[in-house]
């Protein structure tokens, strides 16, 4: 087997294991740490696909910022490992139904979807690097890109409004 | 009440933009510290460089001999009485025939011990001594000890050695009567 193939299988195994540990872990902190490991393995997959920029951004944004905030909040909440009373039978049932529906949708989508293949004649080692990614983003997909940026702007304004102190009330 | 002319009144005034930027103040602070970086150091690297302790420093005890090399101490016990820490103890003995070159008077201290854990180096023994026999050296510390049995100093450590006589170099305090100076050696 080629080294990349071995790497791929090892990474996939770790990804799946840590992803299932996210769901099964009793301690929420362990769960978050396993999720970080999952993101790492996903970045490894991106590197195997020659998408270095995506890998780095995945680590910076997800592992470096969002998961730190997750950890932050969970540390503050100080959840106990045996804090189980919120999980009643109804919630469990609802979770199973939602998860099952999602699984059905995913399977249906992947059955009909055709995977985009790469063209070996035009493929160079530069594909997937940041220059080409920029070209694609700012030429072919300019409108979705700008729409996403507007979405982010709206979210940002919303969070600023939520965090803003109203005149006269002091929270400390 | 104003204690110094440099006192500043604390104010809560609005800071100007220059003060809010911190940078000018930071540059000022950095200039001060770099000046100190190149300044002369005040530390004395102790065992290599020893500082002059002053003419009246009270250090290691010494039992003086007179100009002919005879011990001055007569074991009168006044130093032991004066000692506030009760560090001094002694045993008196009578001078035998043929020991006249060792002891100046008929009575002498056969044993003279100072407990250095008790001693507070106040110098009262020096002041109490009527024979100018006990002094606290101005130029030497009592060295550290690491064992309990090193603590009590006997005559072997206290009596002045003839080849290294102790003279207090104190030009400012010539008139002090308790001075073991050259003049008293010759008189």
């Amino acid at each position: 087997m080629e080294p990349t193939k071995i790497l791929f299988y090892a990474l996939t195994a770790i990804t799946l294991l840590s992803a299932s540990f996210v769901v099964t872990a009793r301690n929420p902190i362990h769960s978050v740490l396993a999720l970080i490991l999952t993101f790492f393995c996903l970045s490894g997959h991106y590197i195997l696909l020659n998408a270095q920029f995506l890998a780095a951004v995945n680590i910076i944004v997800y592992a470096g910022a969002i998961m730190v905030l997750f950890l932050f909040v969970i540390m503050f909440l100080n959840l106990k490992t045996d804090d189980e009373e919120s999980k009643t039978t109804v919630t469990k049932l609802a979770a199973v139904v939602v998860g099952g529906v999602l699984l059905v949708v995913m399977v249906a989508v992947f059955r009909v979807a055709t995977m985009a293949t790469y063209n070996p004649s035009s493929y160079t080692s530069k594909v997937g690097l940041v220059e080409n990614l920029g070209m694609v983003l700012f030429k072919d997909y300019l409108l979705p890109f700008e729409l996403a940026s507007i979405l982010l702007l709206v979210a940002m304004i919303g969070s600023v409004m939520l965090g803003k102190r109203e005149a006269g009330d002091r929270h400390y | 009440m104003q204690l110094t002319n440099r006192s500043k009144e604390v104010s809560n005034k609005q800071m100007t933009l220059a003060e809010k930027m911190y940078l000018p103040a930071i540059a000022q602070g950095l200039a001060i510290t770099i000046k100190h970086f190149f300044a002369k150091k005040v530390t004395v690297p102790y065992p290599e460089v020893k500082r002059y302790l002053g003419p009246v420093f009270r250090g290691h005890h010494i039992l003086k001999r007179d100009e002919e090399g005879r011990e001055r101490c007569t074991a009168c016990g006044l130093c032991a009485v004066a000692c506030p820490a009760e560090a001094i103890s002694m045993v008196a003995a009578e001078r035998k025939k043929g020991e006249e070159n060792l002891y100046r008077e008929e009575k002498y201290a056969a044993v003279y011990e100072i407990n250095m854990l008790r001693c507070i180096f106040c110098g009262l023994c020096e002041e109490a001594c009527p024979k100018q026999a006990v002094y606290l050296r101005h130029d030497e510390f009592v060295p550290i000890f690491t064992e309990r049995d090193e603590v009590i100093y006997g005559k072997d450590k206290l009596v002045e050695k003839m080849d290294a006589r102790y003279i207090r170099n104190n030009p400012d305090a010539q008139a002090t009567p308790t001075e073991p100076s050259y003049s008293r050696l010759s008189s």
Binding site: Q52, A56, G64, A65, V68, L71 | A18, M21, L30
Partner: protein, 383 residues
């Protein structure tokens, strides 16, 4: 890539790794020396001449102290914390170009751990992971003060990462590349980025202080408020790893500051030196010697910045927490966005020094504001 190239590359990586560790080790000694000199003392001078063996003595002490794990602590995470801290600290020096290239027969091997297309993003990714070491360790200690220290570390790092990233975008726009080597090469000779991006440099430097948890931003280890900070419960070499990671981070950030703003291994007159050396000593030897001089120049810059880190540490007091957050969010982020916009206009109209406009405007505003400020009332001295 043939065998000779692999061997040379391997030796190079091992040497760079060793040099990183050695410099971090002697930074601990230098820190105490600098502290001593600034405070009119000598600093450590007992172990060897000038205290040169002090780091070895410290390491020996650290190894032989009791390795204590609190009984209620989460044991595995407690051990994982310092490991993560030191791992992430050591990872980031891989992409820094320490010199031009080594010539061996016909091969040209760059003096760099690994050249990747997105070098600066790699550094950012690794730096943003560094906070996990502190957070995991602080939480696993099962101690309120450690947890508060960890939370301070996390919020501070996240806040300053934004300013950190935005301040660099102006440079990336001017260079058009994310690779650190390309950024360094674009500053050939004396065309250092400092002269185009003075504001970006100040913001980057301050954010680097915050990311390294150095004074004046060392709130995660604030003894007066938090007993010790995130490492309150740590002892022995685990504590040593936390402290060591801080010094490695300091070295790496000094190297990145010198590479991004101070031209890395570039120095005025480097072409002349290279030509003279290759002319007089032959192609290979002269080339390698010129590379060595460039590397020495880079290390000079790095040492200056390490000294600067220490100099600031022994000068400034710590910020208050709200001051820290105000500075990060309300000052640095808007300023760096302004810097990006102004630099963009400069690039559009081909004005290289556009960023100076912000500095000039700020200086004018400062002067106006100081002039308009009410004069302090001079009280007559009572006699």
């Amino acid at each position: 890539m043939n065998t000779t190239e692999l061997i040379i590359k391997g030796i190079l990586i091992v040497v760079l790794f060793g040099v990183t560790l050695l410099i971090a080790m002697y930074s601990t000694w230098a820190e105490r020396k600098v502290a001593g000199f600034i405070q009119d003392r000598f600093g450590p001078n007992r172990a060897g001449p000038g205290g040169i063996f002090q780091p070895l003595a410290d390491a020996g002490k650290m190894f032989f102290k009791e390795d204590f794990i609190p009984s209620q602590a989460n044991k595995w995470l407690f051990i994982l914390g310092p490991c993560l801290a030191i791992l992430t600290a050591l990872m980031s020096s891989a992409v820094i170009p320490f010199g031009e290239s080594i010539r061996y027969e016909e091969l040209l091997i760059p003096v760099q751990g690994i050249e990747i297309n997105i070098g600066i993003l790699y550094v950012f990714g690794v730096v943003s992971l560094g906070v996990y070491g502190l957070m995991v360790g602080g939480w696993a200690s099962n101690n309120k003060f450690s947890l508060l220290g960890a939370i301070r570390a996390a919020s501070q790092n996240i806040s300053y990462e934004i300013g950190f990233g935005l301040s660099i975008i102006a440079i990336l726009m001017m260079t058009g590349s994310l690779s650190i080597r390309a950024i360094v090469e674009s500053q050939h000779g004396f065309a250092w980025n400092l002269f185009n991006q003075p504001l970006g440099f100040i913001i980057f430097l301050t954010c680097a202080f915050a990311e390294c948890n150095r004074t004046p931003f060392d709130l995660p280890e604030c003894e007066t408020e938090l007993v010790g900070g995130y490492h309150t419960e740590y002892s022995s070499m685990k504590l040593g790893f936390y402290l060591f990671a801080e010094y490695i981070n300091m070295f790496v950030s000094s190297a990145i500051i010198s590479s991004l703003y101070f031209g890395g291994y570039n120095y005025p007159g480097m072409d002349w030196v290279r030509e003279t050396l290759t002319g007089s000593l032959g192609a290979a030897t002269g080339h390698n010697l010129a590379t060595l001089i460039g590397t020495i120049v880079l290390f000079g810059k790095i040492f200056f910045f390490i000294f600067f880190f220490m100099w600031v540490r022994w000068t400034l007091p710590r910020f208050r927490y709200d001051q820290l957050m105000n500075l990060g969010w309300k000052t640095f982020i808007p300023l760096s966005i302004l810097n990006v916009v102004v630099t963009g206009f400069g690039l559009l109209f081909d004005i290289k020094y556009a960023s100076w406009a912000i500095i000039i405007v700020m200086v004018i505003m400062v002067m106006v504001s100081s002039a308009r400020a009410p004069k302090p009332v001079v009280q007559p001295q009572r006699t």
